[in-house]
């Protein structure tokens, strides 16, 4: 059997044979009506169901479109606090994971197919393996993913009753307990902060990717952006300070970005604290006490860090109570403590931050560290290990040698979506259900509970974690829906209106009144504590995934920081969540593998990211193959120059180099977990980099954008707020009408247009995946991208501006500009691309003969060509995801962004059937709907009050390549950065 990945590689030869069916008249299809049509279904019209996607235990509320019973598209749920209507990259792509043909399909025991009943017989009521002496669970251990589900929580509790001696461990490679530990050290109890970015004028992110990482990032991105979209020059704008090593989406929007080694963030925080404390709150600008503090090992006072810290401190002081300091999950508790202290001193707690009780089950307890489990395994104390979800064999810190330990366990059970590395070592493998197939519940970061309801009958069979726990409860299995229903009936105390409550919860996708209440705290503890620690001093420490996070042990041994301390002149190795495959769980998702990294634009793999200067020092060319030697481990992967990356540090994405049974994921990129160490899970010193040679073949870096700069061309415009206010019309050369030989179009009714605000685009790429899902865009594979044939209708161009050493990045979503005077239209010999009466630049696939003349004449190069019959690459299962409203393009035709014309036409027809005009804001494109920051505005320019019409009145409006006279309907709002006055040039 030929795997899809091999397919993707060998696109070419036979694959495209289907292409030649162009002119044949097809045989009669048949019609299969329902025998009994469900009342809510109207064949031909989509239905939306509210559900929730759990990720690392936290829920993100979604609305999922269902076409005649098959889920086809994921959107955000506006009523859900973690989504506010947006859906990120992972949420969007999760729909493809549902249909993934590589998902585990059969329950097996040592390779032999078994039934669920067999499994129950083995572990359920008539369990043969009595766990330990008098069945108290001795030797039974469950390794779960972190969960916040009330139902799961109650079941776990009951399993614990049944088996008091059973062990539990919650593990996820990306979750960190630094934040909670810090809170515990400061407030005496683990608390989790919920930020309110709308109330913050000044935000300082210490290695915190708040706009793109974490369970609340969609919300934070929205709140942040709401304080940033300048309606007019005089409007106010928040200011963002970022100190980080790699370039994150947050760094992209930073007004002041300090590139600093991960190991030095602690010092930066300390210095910040010293300055803020020195110049007591509300101090006047540049007050004396702010002089001192020089940050950075042995760096002189001229180091840019000082300037950054002073500016930040000054701003913070001036905005006490309206500012916010955030520490990233990668940073050790100490940094979080410093952040808490700063927030406390500035009186932000209670204003821009509120603390709530942790949402996850067991959080803050030793069960959230793998160490006890690992010790038990080493001691051979575990007889039955039940692993639910996750992939510990692959993603545990290498020094645990978890795989080895697991082999020694007599009875090994794995329940997960795939037959991955872990499944391969277990004798029981139980397929798990995808969240779109299962009943359940989950809580958002702020505690809000919501239900998970299935959109489709399980495709490949399987069970949920709740079903599995039920097996161990020695109870007769009830179906998941009933289980959930009962649990909530109990929780709400039943009542006659419970059915109403239930229906409402399902409909709205949020359970009212479940948001966690604020816990009143005072920052005093923090202040006192940092003082006792001697202010700015103290060792910077590595963060932690909860490794050796034992509460009694307190903070002092925390993180084993010594190893992370940078030996002078040496290199720091730093790990990061991959913006595409997360921790590796999405590695088998073609959309995500082919999605360009927001900053490096790399597809299909990871690389060693390092600053050009460091690269030069090491003699490593861009794209060279290097070997990373780190604490006994070795890893080969290509190197990539990343302008703006901290010097003397190398960042590597986790989640690649998978070795499981997943065909798409297998062998893509290098597995950075092999270098990860339990005591320094996020970064550590002592890295050596050796150049192996030029990267070849599979090791080559594949990128969708080779160039970093704009070559001095005015493409993505940037200005400082001060500059903008001084000269609001700075884009005037790039808009307005141009002389033209072509006649004007005259319109009546709608005429569509789009405005994209570069000020709030983080480059997160949610829009790109949303577009791919909505418009049936194929995945062309590594070779395809290498040849420059990626099919994305919407791409995000990334340009660095300003100083090469300290660059700024501007992100520019680039899609069909729907030109009024479209260069593509007049060169098409067969009228396959023409102008519509509502201003669209139409592309008619079935008329296209594929001269590619249009692409040559498109200055924006947003047109894509079907070089092969790419539909062949889609498995029959994945075909179920296709949007029935969009043609699946044949081989040899051009395609491009249509402004989601299928949505426009559907809305238009609905409106006209109802006998009314179509509202200017009624149509929402897929990219616009997904965008967390609402950078994309779409609507009719015919309606002067539509959002898009209003956006067109902003002075910073401009069109790309305006001088060509193409008069694009997609226009841009120049990026405005809010530099602090003192440092603004």
């Amino acid at each position: 059997m030929v795997g899809r990945r091999d397919f993707l590689k060998m696109v070419g030869a036979g694959v495209a044979l289907a292409g030649v069916t162009g002119c044949v008249t097809e045989p009669r299809r048949s019609i299969l009506p329902y025998t009994m049509r469900p009342p809510e279904v109207t064949p031909g019209n989509p239905l939306y169901y509210a559900t929730t996607m759990p990720l690392d235990g936290y829920g993100i509320g979604l609305l999922v479109a269902s076409r005649e019973g098959r889920p086809t598209k994921v959107e955000g749920n506006p009523d859900h606090p973690a989504s506010l209507g947006a859906a990120g990259v992972y949420e969007q792509a999760s729909i493809l994971q549902l249909y993934d043909p590589n998902r585990a399909r059969q329950l097996t025991y040592q390779g032999g197919v078994r039934s669920v009943r067999d499994f129950v017989r083995a572990f359920g009521p008539q369990s043969t393996s009595a766990f330990g002496t008098p069945g108290n669970g001795e030797g039974l251990h469950l390794l779960l993913e972190p969960t916040s589900s009330p139902l799961t929580a109650s079941l776990i509790a009951r399993v614990r009753e049944a088996y008091p001696a059973a062990g539990f461990t919650f593990y996820s490679p990306l979750s960190s307990s630094s934040e909670l530990d810090a809170a515990r050290n400061v407030f005496g109890r683990p608390l989790q902060p919920v930020y309110d970015l709308r109330a913050a004028d000044i935000i300082v992110a210490l290695d915190a990717d708040l706009l793109d990482e974490g369970p609340f990032s969609l919300r934070y991105a929205r709140e942040f952006a709401d304080r940033r979209r300048l309606e007019e020059p005089s409007a106010g704008m928040n200011r963002l300070y970022v100190a980080e090593a790699g370039f994150t989406s947050t760094g992209v929007l930073a007004d002041h970005r300090l590139r600093v080694r991960s190991t030095e963030v602690a010092e930066v925080a300390a210095a910040l604290l010293e300055l803020v404390r020195g110049g007591s709150v509300g101090a006047t600008e540049g007050a004396a006490p702010m002089g001192g503090a020089v940050v950075g090992e042995g760096r002189g006072a001229q180091w840019r860090g000082n300037e950054w810290v002073r500016a930040a401190a000054r701003d913070l002081a001036a905005h006490a109570g309206r500012s916010l300091i955030m520490a990233g999950a990668r940073q050790p508790p100490r940094v979080h403590e410093l952040a808490i202290a700063l927030n406390a001193i500035l009186g932000n707690i209670g204003r821009t931050i509120r603390y709530i009780d942790p949402v996850l089950v067991d959080v803050g307890l030793p069960t959230h560290s793998p160490v006890p489990l690992v010790e038990a395994l080493r001691a051979g104390a575990v007889r039955t290990l039940v692993i639910v979800g996750g992939n510990p064999v692959y993603d545990m810190p290498a020094d645990f040698e978890f795989g080895e330990l697991l082999r020694r366990v007599p009875e090994r059970v794995y329940c997960g979506l795939y037959r991955n590395e872990t499944a391969a070592l277990c004798d029981w493998v139980v397929p798990a259900l995808h969240y779109l197939e299962s009943w359940g519940d989950v809580r958002a970061w702020d505690g809000t509970a919501s239900l998970i309801q299935p959109l489709i009958y399980p495709l490949y069979g399987g069970i949920t974690i709740d079903d599995l726990l039920k097996v161990f409860l020695l109870e007769a299995a009830t179906d998941a829906h009933q289980l959930l229903w009962e649990s909530w009936r109990e929780r709400t105390g039943g009542g006659d209106d419970f059915d109403e409550f239930w229906k409402d919860a399902l409909r709205r996708g949020v359970i009212p009144g479940t948001t966690s209440p604020e816990v009143a705290v005072t920052g005093e503890g923090a202040v006192v504590r940092v003082q006792s620690m001697g202010g700015a001093g103290g060792e910077p420490r590595a963060g932690s995934v909860g490794v050796d996070r034992v509460p009694e042990s307190g903070d002092q041994q925390g993180g084993g920081g010594e190893s992370a301390k940078l030996p002078r002149g040496g290199l720091v190795l730093s790990f990061r969540r991959d913006p595409k495959v997360y921790d590796g769980r999405f590695a088998n998702n073609g959309w995500l593998q082919e999605l360009p990294d927001p900053v490096t634009k790399q597809c299909w793999g990871n690389a060693a990211l390092l600053s050009p200067r460091t690269a030069a020092r090491l003699g490593v060319e861009d794209g060279d193959l290097v070997e990373l030697r780190y604490r006994g481990g070795k890893l080969r992967l290509p190197a990539l120059h990343l302008p703006g990356h901290a010097d003397d540090e190398v960042t590597v994405s986790l989640g690649y180099g998978r070795g499981g049974a997943e065909e798409v994921a297998r062998g893509v990129g290098a597995n950075a977990y092999l270098l990860r160490r339990a005591d320094a899970p996020w970064f550590g010193g002592g890295l050596e980099v050796a150049r192996v040679g030029e990267a070849r073949g599979e090791e080559r870096v594949v990128r969708t954008q080779e160039r970093w700069t704009q070559e001095g061309r005015p493409i993505a415009l940037v200005a400082t707020l001060a500059g903008y206010r001084a000269n609001p019309d700075f884009t005037h050369e790039h808009r307005g009408s141009q002389p033209s030989l072509f006649e004007r179009w005259n319109y009546s009714g709608e005429q569509w247009g789009m405005t994209i605000d570069l000020s709030v685009c983080t480059g997160c790429s949610a829009c790109v995946v949303a577009c791919q899902a909505e418009n049936n865009i194929p995945v062309v594979g590594r070779e395809g991208v290498a040849r420059g044939r990626e099919m994305h209708w919407l791409r995000i161009d990334r340009y660095v501006t300003g100083d090469v050493e300290e660059p700024r990045i501007v992100m520019q979503p680039m899609l069909c500009q729907h030109c009024e005077k479209a260069p593509c239209e007049y060169v098409c010999p067969v009228n396959a691309t023409v102008h519509s009466s509502d201003g669209l630049n139409e592309m008619i696939y079935n008329r296209c003969v594929g001269t590619r003349f249009c692409s040559n004449n498109c200055p924006y190069k947003v047109r894509r060509f079907n070089w092969f019959d790419y539909a062949v690459l889609r498995s029959p299962e994945e075909d179920l995801q296709l949007n029935p409203d969009v043609t699946v393009r044949a081989r040899g035709v051009m395609e491009k962004c249509t402004y989601c014309v299928q949505r426009i036409r559907r809305a238009g027809i609905r409106a006209r059937v109802e006998g009314r005009e179509l509202g200017g804001d009624e149509v929402v494109t897929a990219c616009q709907q997904a965008c967390p920051t609402r950078a994309i505005v779409f609507g009719s320019l015919g309606d002067p009050e539509s959002e898009v019409s209003r956006s067109r009145r902003q002075p910073r409006l401009y069109s790309v390549l305006h001088e060509l006279g193409t008069e694009p309907r997609t226009m841009y709002l120049a990026k405005i950065v809010n530099e602090a006055p003192a440092t603004a040039v």
Binding site: V15, V830, G850, F853, N856, N866
Partner: protein, 456 residues
């Protein structure tokens, strides 16, 4: 055969020696009867080339354009390069026959048939590429205006439907022109062919030519008219082809000088091709008396002249790019081309098209078959490189740096280029074998015209 000694000092003639009509006829018909080994070999080789062509062609149609190296932004590459190159080569034939006929250049007679044949075979090659490079070649007929059930028509603002019209017209006229010119000789062959079969076959194509006065009178009339029709086409065809590029806004394409530029380039490569075909024939069939140094000299001069037109357009193009001050134009002409990833091709083009032909200032070179051949060959290479530079170098560095990307040909691309050359030679060798490649009647007329001056 004429060797290194170059040309005699005295005035060059269109005909050397004092052969009688009879001798000339015999000499020029010889290749049709001879069963030479070299012909079989060459034929086999070109046949192999044709086969390669077929393979690459079929593979492309079956699998899709993806088997080429093309991508976005470089959506056109070898395919269109080959097309423009071949159509260019296809120009000299008609030019020589028609133009020079109207200008009464006597020296054309000995070479014009080879040139015309070359034209037809080249246009065949050229005609195939635009169809092949389509994503869906089976819908190529949509470019033709006809009342379709879809009630949609082609778009006449685009250059491509005009391309289609221009090329098909050009092919038809050239074919007729060539055939009409052939008739008297076909009759000659008919009368002298050994064996009935050949006599009948040639006889059919000779359309019953008896060489009667009436025949000659009509023949001249038709030939003249066709020449008159063909002449403007020489100019129009490549002008229209050039609009494939000129009507776009792409820096490197967006240029008003393209039509004359392309015509000059076409004739340039066309004459070079004639030289490359004529010289071997002359040597192999010992035709130095018919295809004299005078011919070589004139062809050489034509190449030189065309060469300078091309040089001029290069200069103007680059100058205007700089003079326009348009950053995109400047980037294209003054950076991307001379210093970009395809700089080697660019400088190769400059060397072959601008430097090499200067050797033709020397009559010694013009009249030395070997040197002339070398020059012609390099010009041929240069002209292909020129089209590659225009197409690929312009596309791979367009407006937005974000979309910049390189192009690398695959074996299919090479297969089609070499294959088309193979196919061309294949047809040409068939032509040599079955058709008198020097117009016997015209040569005899020429002799008749020259005689009195000789004896006198």
């Amino acid at each position: 055969m004429v060797g290194w000694h170059g040309a005699p000092v005295e005035e060059l003639r269109e005909l050397e020696g004092h052969a009688t009509d009879e001798e000339l006829t015999e000499q020029l018909l010889a290749p049709l009867w001879s069963k030479s080994r070299w012909w079989r070999i060459c034929f086999a080789v070109s046949g192999a080339g044709t086969l390669l062509y077929l393979v690459a062609f079929t593979y492309t149609v079956v699998s899709g354009i993806g088997v080429w190296g093309n991508n976005i932004p470089v959506a056109w590459a070898y395919g269109i390069t080959n097309f423009v190159w071949w159509i260019g080569i296809g120009h000299a034939g008609t030019f020589i026959s028609a133009f020079l006929l109207l200008l009464q250049q006597r020296w054309r007679s000995s070479v014009n048939r080879v040139a015309e044949a070359m034209t037809i075979f080249a246009v065949i090659q050229a005609g195939l590429f635009p169809v092949l490079h389509l994503g869906r070649p089976w819908f190529a007929y949509w470019l033709i205006p006809y009342p379709a059930t879809m009630a949609v028509w082609p778009q006449f603002r685009s250059a491509l439907p005009w391309d289609f019209a221009a090329i098909s017209t050009y092919f038809t006229i050239s074919l007729l022109f060539w055939y009409v010119g052939l008739i008297p000789d076909l009759a000659t062959v008919r009368d002298r062919a050994p064996g009935r079969v050949r006599r009948v076959v040639y006889g059919i194509f000779a359309l019953g030519w008896r060489g009667a006065g009436a025949h000659w009178q009509r023949y001249r009339l038709v030939y003249g008219i066709l020449a008159g029709l063909a002449t403007p086409l020489v100019v129009s065809v490549h002008s229209i082809v050039s609009t494939d590029f000129a009507i776009t806004q792409l820096p490197g394409w967006h240029s008003t000088i393209f039509p004359p530029y392309f015509v000059a380039g076409a004739l340039y490569s066309g004459f070079a091709m004639v030289i490359m075909l004529v010289l071997p024939l002359r040597a192999v069939f010992r035709l130095s008396n018919v295809i004299t140094t005078r011919h070589l000299d004139s062809l050489g001069k034509m190449v030189l002249a065309m060469g300078w037109m091309v040089i001029y357009t290069y200069a103007i193009e680059t100058f205007f790019a700089w003079y326009s001050g348009d950053p995109f134009e400047v980037a294209q002409y003054l950076r991307a081309r001379p210093f970009g990833s395809y700089a080697l091709v660019f400088w190769g083009m400059v060397f072959c098209n601008c430097v090499v032909p200067q050797a033709l200032w020397s009559r010694r070179v013009r009249t030395s078959p070997v040197l002339l051949f070398v020059v012609a060959f390099l010009v041929q290479v240069g002209m292909w490189a020129e089209r590659f530079v225009i197409i690929v170098a312009s596309l791979y560095r367009d407006f937005l740096p974000s979309s910049w990307n390189l192009y690398a040909p695959t074996w299919v691309d090479w297969g089609l280029l070499l294959g088309s050359i193979g196919f061309f030679s294949f047809l040409f060798f068939l032509f040599l074998r079955y058709i008198p490649f020097v117009p016997i009647d015209e040569v005899k007329h020429l002799r008749a015209e020259l005689e009195p001056r000789r004896s006198g």
